[in-house]
């Protein structure tokens, strides 16, 4: 055990206020939100804003309402929207960012100016970006008018108001789809374990996979979360929002990648050249592998931005546009316009869990890394 030196006492004294404040304003409020999400606060309008509201404990009722309630189709569409938005937003930012970084890494003329231009969108807030892009993606005006400059017909794509969608699936089939996907992953794990001659792991994975697949085949098709089929898919209205978000954040990934590229010692490139590799081989086998930690951290940061995105969607599509809505927007409307605090808290909690899925593995990885160094 270490002694309590003067230095350590000072450290404790200085840290205590922030620990207390974080304890109250972050963790206590998280706990409070989770508690509220398990009550019925606001489900009865008369109690929502009363001076001393009667609040009852209802367990997971709000959550089952969100995932299977007749009125909450909007929330389910938003979950699907978030999934597709996150996917395309991250892919877009990584692709564009890496491309720009590779170009700038070749030291073009006026590199500093280009860097500033590419990084500039990040200095705007999402609400500004959203407003500008809303103007540009207007149904009659903006980019739809671009072909007329060349004498063509104006295009008619409904960037933010389209109701068409692709990749549709029935929400009722969700348990089935999930079970099948997890089952297939477990089979892959089992096969790998078998190759590595890890018998225990192979057995566990194989048994779990068999159970899941068996469930999916025998019981899954009969599970009904909703009385009627409910189709959700990738709405084309989100494409406009994805473009704006990528425009805003790809400069940031560019900066990350550029820092990574500049951090690669010249000796490695030279060594690769001496060994007779051409440019593309050098990038594939030397530089990209060294950039993979940067890709990971960029994915984490972009991932949590996309899960909590609110202002961009609010500015571009408006609050009532279900086709392009996201859970954070619904949480705001549910809590502060409909006064359904418990239901809003439940949506908030679901968002927290989703963000935790992204952040916790990253944090665990970071801590493990630090311990390794220490």
């Amino acid at each position: 055990m270490k002694r309590l030196s003067k230095d350590r006492l000072w450290a404790i004294a200085v840290l205590t206020p922030s620990i207390l404040l974080i304890g109250i304003f972050v963790y206590y409020f998280i706990g409070r939100t989770i508690y509220v999400s398990l009550t019925d606060w606001g489900n009865d309008p008369a109690q929502a804003l009363a001076l001393n509201p009667i609040i009852r404990w209802v367990g997971l009722q709000n959550y089952s309402e969100l995932f299977g309630g007749f009125l909450q189709g909007r929330f389910r569409q938003e979950l699907v929207n978030t999934l597709f938005f996150t996917l395309f937003f991250i892919l877009g930012c990584l692709g564009v960012g890496l491309g720009l970084a590779l170009v700038l890494d070749r030291n073009p003329k006026g590199e500093g100016l280009w860097r500033t231009i590419f990084l500039f969108p990040m200095s705007l807030s999402f609400i500004v970006t959203g407003t500008i892009w809303r103007w540009m993606l207007q149904p009659q005006g903006g980019v739809n008018q671009a072909p007329t400059l060349l004498g063509g017909q104006p295009s008619t794509f409904a960037w933010l108001s389209s109701n068409d969608s692709a990749l549709k699936f029935d929400w009722n089939a969700l348990p089935l789809i999930t079970a099948s996907v997890v089952g297939v992953v477990l089979i892959v794990v089992a096969v790998r374990a078998a190759r590595e001659v890890n018998r225990a792991r192979m057995l566990v994975a194989a048994v779990c996979a068999a159970l899941l697949i068996g469930w999916a085949v025998l019981i899954g098709p009969r599970v009904k979360m909703l009385p009627t089929p409910e189709l959700h898919g990738f709405n084309f209205a989100i494409i406009g929002i994805i473009i704006a978000a990528v425009w805003q954040m790809s400069g940031y990934t560019m900066a990350l990648y550029l820092a990574g590229l500049r951090g690669i010692p010249e000796e490695l490139r030279e060594a690769a050249k001496v060994d007779g590799s051409n440019d593309s081989q050098m990038y594939r086998h030397v530089i990209f592998p060294l950039l993979s930690p940067i890709t990971l951290s960029a994915m984490i940061i972009l991932g949590h931005i996309s899960l909590k995105i609110f202002d961009l969607v609010y500015a571009m599509a408006g609050p009532d546009n279900v086709a392009a809505s996201v859970p954070a927007l619904n949480m705001y409307l549910t809590s502060f316009r409909q006064n359904q605090f418990a239901l809003g808290a439940a949506i908030g909690t679901i968002l927290l869990i989703l963000v935790a899925f992204v952040i916790v593995p990253y944090l665990a990885n970071q801590f493990r890394g630090e311990e390794g160094h220490a």
Partner: protein, 421 residues
């Protein structure tokens, strides 16, 4: 253990003395009044004129005009909520008259009953009985309406209608056949609608025009279910009306939608009478020439109203000043100062019509002679819980055109909001 109570009581005493000192000094200095509203921009001068009138009557009172900007008060309502829940209510706040106040704050027991004020000021006679009914519940009257807007107005371009050779439709079926005629003549979208709330606005006009006023009132009293075949049929009519509309609706504000009437791109627009102010003031058009109006199809003897009103929260700091403010708002002088500037008409039936413009005069005449019902889209007949979630129902319906599904969703919402049982 025994020491603690002594300590708190002495502390309390000190606090009380301090508080008493503070209140006496402020009372000696001057009264104070905080008014909370979302009137800014175009509506700012009208509010300022009212405040000026108040200061003339009560020169010692310092008026704090706390305005939170944002269309239709969505931002202001959020700020108001945090203030009310935080225990610092403004002395008097603006709210859409009717269920927006009753379903949110009155049911929660946060408002003072103004019945005695209505009696002493003679307002039960000055305002139409239908309006007093809309702002009352549970034996109380809850707010003072300052102005009235009409929501069932159909705007059109008279020259264009003549050129197309069609007349103004009187019923919704007639509207749909007029729409077919116009489509044949190459008008892609005979009806122009804008973002979601303007579609809700259109929806309520189709409902009232199809179901009639009695059924409309029954719907909000819980006596008629949304799943009733009549209502489902009206939803189907609404779908057919939406077939006449532009496809880029959700990208348009109501002003942009009105512009298409002026440009002749579309023939009709259903909007509230604030559009008259937009046409005359912003677009510099002459009433009856550049633009014209009729009641929305099927609602000729009906006045669908929405009103801005002020209420008195419980436990405010400057109650006496707030009551004087409410008295001013309900008075003839107050309403005739405010409304000509705001572009609305007075809620009182004895207002001085010479102060108003052509459109307002016609609306004021109808105000006295029509059956008055409340608007859903503007908070008169349905509580916030319903109106705010109903946007998604309309959006879903416009995408799918599933009348039965939308009706069932609306019914479920009604039950959840506490009036559809």
């Amino acid at each position: 253990m025994s020491k603690a109570p002594v300590k708190t009581s002495s502390l309390k005493k000190a606090f009380l003395i301090a508080a008493a000192l503070a209140t006496t000094t402020s009372a000696l200095a001057a009264g104070k009044l905080e008014i909370f509203s979302w009137w800014a921009g175009d509506e700012g001068p009208a509010l300022e004129a009212l405040v000026k009138l108040y200061k003339e009557k009560y020169p010692s009172v310092a008026v704090d005009n706390a305005t939170v900007t944002g269309g239709a008060g969505t931002n202001a309502r959020a700020v108001l909520k945090t203030r009310m829940l935080g225990g610092t209510p403004p002395d008097s706040f603006q709210v859409h008259a009717g269920q927006e106040l009753i379903g949110t704050w009155v049911v929660a027991g946060r408002m003072e009953d103004l019945s005695s004020l209505f009696k002493s000021e003679g307002w039960t006679k000055a305002f139409p009985a239908d309006v007093v009914k809309l702002i009352s519940s549970k034996g109380g009257i809850w707010s003072v309406p300052v102005n009235v807007h009409r929501s069932n107005v159909m705007w059109y371009n008279p020259d264009k209608l003549k050129a197309w050779g069609v007349s103004v439709p009187k019923t919704w079926p007639e509207f749909i056949s007029t729409c077919a005629t116009l489509k044949k003549k190459g008008v892609a979208a005979p009806l122009v609608v804008g973002e979601n709330w303007t579609q809700q606005h259109l929806w309520e006009n189709v409902m009232i025009g199809t179901l009639g006023t009695q059924n409309w009132e029954n719907l909000w009293a819980g006596k008629l279910k949304f799943t009733d075949p009549k209502v489902v049929g009206a939803f189907t009519t609404f779908g057919k009306v939406m077939d006449c509309a532009n496809k880029d609706a959700s990208g348009l504000s109501w002003q942009q939608a009105s512009d298409r009437i002026v440009s002749g791109q579309s023939a009709f627009n259903i909007m509230g009478d604030w559009a008259a102010g937009y046409f005359t003031t912003t677009k510099k058009l002459a009433p009856g020439k550049g633009f014209a109006w009729a009641t929305a199809p099927g609602t000729s003897k009906t006045f669908v109203m929405l009103a801005d009103s002020f209420g008195l929260p419980k436990g405010v700091k400057d109650r006496a000043e707030a009551i004087n403010w409410l008295k001013l708002l309900g008075s003839k002088a107050g309403q005739d100062t405010f409304n000509p500037l705001k572009g609305s008409i007075a809620a009182r039936i004895d207002s001085d019509l010479s102060k108003y413009n052509t459109y307002s005069r016609s609306a004021a005449t109808d105000w006295k002679n029509s059956k008055i019902v409340g608007s859903m889209a503007h908070g008169a007949v349905a509580p916030e819980t319903f109106t705010s979630a109903f946007g998604a129902v309309i959006d879903q319906f416009v995408a799918t055109r599933n009348s039965a599904g939308a009706a069932a969703a609306a019914q479920a919402l009604a039950v959840r909001s506490g009036f559809g049982k």
